[in-house]
């Protein structure tokens, strides 16, 4: 009986892995199939035609470049903001911490469409309040930078979670020692805290970079590249 259950569990595990990975295999297969329809059946032989078509398509490459640009900007901003908020959260306690932490976490749960629309409206409205009609200035017109800001608002929370997890095992005594030995505040941050956090910051950066490559929030859907 126990043996049977083990076998069943293994089989379920295997099936689940197939469920998770098969779509990716199918998709990669479809990219090489010499068939006008995107599918793997019927298989009409190998081709790299679709990749050539993508590279020669000017608009596709512009979209691809824009996507990369947004991803880099989001990664840089989200890492800075996320790390700062993790350090801040780690040093406060009590009610303020609960409220701040709750607010930061809730950003992950806000639907992308809501974030997109609210960011778009706020910035264009601010432009309308600050300037005469017709006079448009850079940060207040719709564009790629708004899509960056919209995405930073929740990706920063992911970075914050990663950095916070690493901060919990940090020995604050190291900083005390450095301060006692005469290090400046900037040195403490640069030489002691940040090197300790680098693995988490790196992981956060990777998450932050890869996320925009795959998300479409509402205003950004005009510019986000379909990279296939």
């Amino acid at each position: 009986m126990h043996k049977l259950r083990m076998t069943l569990a293994r089989a379920y595990m295997g099936l689940f892995l197939v469920f998770m990975l098969a779509p990716l295999v199918v998709m990669s297969g479809a990219a090489f199939n010499d068939n006008r329809l995107p599918s793997i059946v019927p298989w009409k032989g190998w081709t790299t035609h679709w990749f050539e078509a993508m590279i020669s398509d000017q608009r596709m490459m512009v979209a691809f470049g824009n996507t990369l640009l947004v991803a880099i900007a989001v990664a840089i901003l989200a890492v800075i903001v996320g790390t700062a908020s993790a350090i801040l959260i780690n040093s406060i306690s009590g009610r303020a911490r609960t409220v701040l932490y709750g607010m930061m976490i809730s950003t992950i749960l806000i639907p992308g469409v809501v974030i997109g629309i609210s960011t778009m409206i706020l910035w264009t409205k601010m432009g309308g309040l600050l300037f005469e009609p017709g006079q448009k200035l850079w940060p207040f017109v719709p564009g790629l930078h708004l899509s960056v800001l919209g995405q930073v608002s929740y990706i920063a929370a992911m970075v914050m979670l990663l950095v916070l997890a690493r901060l919990q095992s940090f020995d604050a005594g190291l900083e005390e020692a450095a301060l006692d030995l005469g290090a400046s505040h900037g040195q403490v941050l640069r030489r002691i805290l940040l090197p300790y956090l680098y693995p988490a910051i790196g992981a956060g950066g990777a998450v932050a970079f890869s996320n925009p490559l795959k998300t479409i929030t509402s205003p950004s859907s005009r510019v986000a590249g379909w990279t296939r």
Binding site: M20, I105, S118, I121, G150, H185, L189, K214, I216
Partner: protein, 308 residues
Amino acid sequence: MNDLIRRYGTSITALMCLLVAFWLVMLVIVPNITLFEQSFRPYLPVIDIGGPKGFLQSGQLCQSVRRHRSTQALLGIPINIPVHVMTFGLTIWYSIVVTVACFVLAYPLAFFMAKIANPKSLPTLLLLLFIPLWVSEVLRAFAWWIILALKGPLNALLLAIGAIEKPVRWIVDYDGVVIGLTYTYVLFMLFPIYNAIASLDTNQIEAADDLGAPWWKIHLRIVLPHAKPGIASGAVMVFMLSAGSLLVPSILGSTTSQWFTQTIDQWFKDALDWNTASAYAFILLLLCTVFVSIALKVFNVKLSDIAK
């Protein structure tokens, strides 16, 4: 706070506070307040904006919702309700279906990984499970679109082994959307449950087993109560992500399926009516928040336990 100033000095602390304030105030709070305020403004031609007609009108939203009524059949009973209310209800309902499906799929696997699987093979297993997360959501939905197509691989496979007589149409009504969302978000259910079960003392399970409890009773009385925080946070993540997803319903939706985010998107981009769009977006945000708070209360879990 004093601790921060002592360690990093006033200027660096101020800079950090400023960054956090910029994030929470400029990117989260103020946009949502603007969204709320925008919801109450009527949709006007450009020339009237800012004029006397541009003031708050709370009836605006109700009017625009009431304008579009249609008769729908709910569980076989025809009822006459506004079409967007219907869409919203269906979105919530199918998000719950997706959440339950994710739980049913993820729970046995989480238990297997935490308690039965060989610890040595676990890293490989986790790595394999993580691969889909590296691939874009668009591409994953598109892969399912390929698989579920009428002449796609799934039907070809089922025909070849003789399970079905003729090709099945998979992307009808909300079926494709539910399959796609379940696939996309099942991992967000798996990992919290796995973490929760991993912290359960195996001795408890063995003790129950020795005392003669059947396997289903062990799960019901020992494993499930212990995994409750993990299940709650997984459920909240999956539910919110499904209800807020725009990509999967757009790609895998059929002619008869409409997700509420699609409605918002159409108001915003096709109708160019930002006011109605923001009203709808705000309603989505509000009702989902209410739903999640109720779920957290029922399961007795704090928001700070989510996404650990």
